[in-house]
């Protein structure tokens, strides 16, 4: 039941979230600070923090150097369902409700071994999920297999500041997916997007031996095209909105991306969750170059993310206010796309063509100030090609009436001009 609503890639991201959460707290890094207006101090960076993930048909392993888990934290917080410490959620971390790690591990497999060490202590925990589940719910607790302070035993391979989680006896559906190359590629790509800001801040992530590179969102800019940028505060939550139009060559889908404390929650969403078809018009192919990026930063419990971090709590006050701002900032962009790509008569106007002839700019490179969306104005009166079929007999009639040498195209133009002259002027 606990694992039903969570996907496999999301589970792995949940494990990364826990590691990053630890590193953020220890190093005091504010990933979203990279995008916000300069506060006069250089943003802090991660130092020697890396996460390494390896998996195959039979096993899964994640190792990190994000600070390690203390024995006290393990007993009082990490291995309980729901975090009993409200202070933990007052910071700008990624650990939302204290169930992500357990749920993620159960999603992957049945035999779990966790080892972690800090400068002060160390512990190891082994879980046999089938055996654990067979206990009475009141006994659903985890007991550390071994732990201690000071020196670590010789057979304890995890150094201070590190955590290693290994899962074997994978669930039936998991092993085959781990063996598929597309799964590795997709996971790496999702991490590149989801953790782009953390990667920029110095975090290193490797998936199956290959380093994940930061993939910060991009928006098109040119002499005539400027993305909108707007910052505001909603109580304890800071909101940054960047929206615009992607270049013609961009392969990115359109829609809204939403990030909470630097972590991507929604990826190019075009559903009612981000207003489409309700406060915004219905999503339409003419909007395929619209992109909007929303960054929310605040105390964990104030942000509108769900426990899986795969969606948003739509009715939350913070999100509704943010959505209102998204609607306002999207309005001129969608109006431009409506006029630039009218569709039925002219598929793409000169202004639309010019707008798409832009270059991509990462959101971190956009000037950190209030910017309105700006796009090319009406550039030229367009000629529209009209094509239609009419009975040949009618064309012959007109030819006989006017000039026997007229081509069909000339007759079309002639009759069109006649209508304009007689009815419109």
């Amino acid at each position: 039941m606990l694992t039903r609503d969570i996907g496999l890639k999301t589970s792995i991201l949940d494990l990364c979230d826990n590691a990053i959460d630890q590193a953020v707290r220890q190093d005091g890094v504010d990933a979203m600070g990279l995008l916000l207006a300069d506060r006069g101090t250089a943003p802090r960076r991660f130092v020697n923090r890396n996460i390494s993930i390896e998996f195959g048909p039979d096993s899964f392993r994640i190792r990190d150097t994000c600070g390690g888990i203390s024995v006290d934290d393990a007993r009082r917080r990490v291995f309980l369902f729901g975090d009993p410490d409200p202070a933990h959620f007052a910071g700008h971390g990624l650990s939302v409700y204290g169930i992500g790690m357990k749920r993620a591990l159960f999603k992957i497999g049945n035999k779990i071994r966790i080892a972690s060490a800090t400068e002060q202590d160390w512990f190891e925990l082994e879980i046999d999920v089938a055996q654990w589940k067979s206990q009475h719910p009141q006994d659903w607790k985890f007991r550390l297999t071994r732990s201690g302070g000071g020196d670590r035993p010789a057979d304890f391979r995890v150094a201070a500041g590190q955590t290693e989680i290994e899962v074997t006896a994978l669930r039936d559906t998991v092993g085959p997916r781990f063996a598929q190359p597309p799964f590795v590629r997709q996971l790496r790509s999702r991490m590149a997007n989801s953790y782009a800001l953390f990667l920029m801040a110095g975090l290193e992530i490797e998936v199956c031996g290959l380093r994940v590179a930061s993939s910060l969102p991009e928006v098109g800019v040119s002499d005539m095209l400027q993305a909108a940028r707007h910052e505001r505060s909603l109580g304890s939550v800071d909101v940054l909105l960047i929206a615009g139009i992607t270049p013609r060559a961009s392969v990115l889908p359109g829609g809204w991306c939403i990030f909470c404390n630097g972590r991507m929650i929604l990826d190019h969403d075009t559903t009612h969750l981000t207003g489409w078809g309700e406060a915004l018009p219905r999503w339409h192919s003419k909007y395929q170059h619209f992109v909007g990026y929303v960054y929310l930063r605040g105390p964990v419990q104030s942000l509108p993310w769900t426990t899986t971090k795969g969606s948003l709590v739509f009715d939350s006050e913070v999100y509704q206010s943010t959505l209102g701002e998204m609607v306002i900032q999207a309005r001129p962009i969608l109006a431009f796309l409506d006029s630039a790509f009218p569709g039925d008569l002219i598929p793409e106007t000169a202004a639309g063509r010019t707008a798409l002839d832009s270059v991509p700019l990462q959101v971190s490179e956009i000037p950190k100030k209030e910017l309105p969306f700006a796009a090319p104005g009406d550039l030229a009166i367009e000629d529209v090609e009209i094509r239609y079929a009419k009975p040949a007999a009618d064309l012959y009639k007109i030819r006989e009436h006017v000039d026997e040498d007229l081509s069909a195209a000339q007759i079309g133009a002639l009759t069109f001009d006649y209508y304009i002259r007689q009815e419109c002027e």
Binding site: L280, P281, R282, S321, E325, L345, I346, P372, D378, I381
Partner: protein, 320 residues
């Protein structure tokens, strides 16, 4: 590529029903001012066109001096030439572009006075206003409201199928904002303006309600025709305090205020100057009966005049 703007077809100053509507707004804002709303300090945002009729009236009778005219027609010199007061800020761009510049803490009167039918684009402008305007601001929306079926409905080769296709579009685009089924009856002369009024009012309420603690305190639901049928819906963006002050201002007691889906027609009977002056002399005496008048006028027209005599425009030719 756009159609000829309506200001080039109609002299806005000579639209009697519209002029009455503007005066009803003024009466409403006077009433709100009595309730403590500092209307003269508000910023008026409207689509003045080359006549600036609403700007002139709102400055002269509401004393507003912060005014923004948003105009998308490519006539910057003409707009500048006709500017009645230097303090009007002219913004030559579509309202959709301007909306992001509305301040979050400034009280506005925004009149989205379109001459086009309700569309997704109009809806989007209305939505953006409902999201951005601060409590105490007024939002008024006017659209064309005739139920004529557009000739461009694709794939329809008979009036019946054109109607059906049009109804399908209305259901798809606006159905969720209308409380009844969308059937052929809404395409009638009376049915369509009422439909548009309800859709606009519901949209304003829904988008405003999504902001915590705010609601749309509806005041207007007019229909009138100086040629084309038009519909206007308007009201105040309100938090609890603004709602209370609106209530206490007494504005709800004004005869033309419509807070629900009932629609108030602005119908002006055609009268000669002499007839009008005679009728004015009878105001204040016993209610007039059409049967006892010295000239032919039906009871409905008489009642319409009784309701609008103070605002009835008086047109005369002048040489300047």
């Amino acid at each position: 590529m756009s159609a000829r703007p309506s200001f080039s077809k109609l002299n806005y100053l000579l639209r009697p029903s519209k002029q009455v509507e503007r005066k009803l707004f003024i009466e409403t804002f006077h009433s709100l001012a009595m309730g403590g709303f500092r209307i003269k300090d508000y910023t008026y945002v409207g689509f003045g066109s080359i006549y600036y009729a609403d700007f002139i009236l709102f400055h002269k009778y509401l004393y507003i001096t912060k005014m923004v005219c948003v105009e998308q027609a490519k006539i910057p010199k003409r707009m500048q030439f006709n500017l009645p007061f230097r303090f009007i800020q002219l913004e030559m761009q579509p309202f959709a572009q301007y909306v992001t510049r509305l301040q979050r803490d400034t009280p506005y009167i925004v009149w989205l006075d379109y001459d086009i039918a309700l569309s997704q684009q109009v809806f989007a402008d209305v939505t953006a206003c409902c999201k951005v305007l601060c409590p105490g601001s007024a939002l008024i929306v006017t659209v064309e409201g005739s139920g004529k079926v557009h000739a461009d409905v694709a794939g329809a080769d008979s009036q019946r199928s054109r109607d059906q296709e049009y109804l399908n579009r209305l259901k798809r685009d606006f159905g969720r904002y209308y409380s009844a089924d969308i059937t052929q009856s809404i395409l009638s002369t009376n049915g369509f303006p009422k439909f548009i009024g309800e859709v606009l009012a519901t949209k304003c309420q829904q988008e405003t309600n999504a902001r915590k603690g705010l609601s749309f305190d509806q005041l207007f639901n007019f229909r009138y025709a100086d040629g084309r049928q038009m519909v206007t819906v308007g009201g105040i963006i309100a938090d609890a305090d603004v709602s209370r002050r609106v209530q206490e201002s007494g504005v709800h007691a004004l005869a033309f205020i419509e807070r629900g889906n009932s629609q108030r027609p602005i119908n002006l009977p055609m009268l000669t100057v002499r007839e009008r002056l005679w009728l004015d002399q009878q105001i204040g005496s016993d209610p007039l009966d059409a049967q006892t008048l010295q000239f032919e006028l039906d009871q409905d027209a008489l009642e319409s005049y009784r309701q609008s005599y103070r605002d009835y425009p008086n047109y005369q030719e002048g040489l300047f």
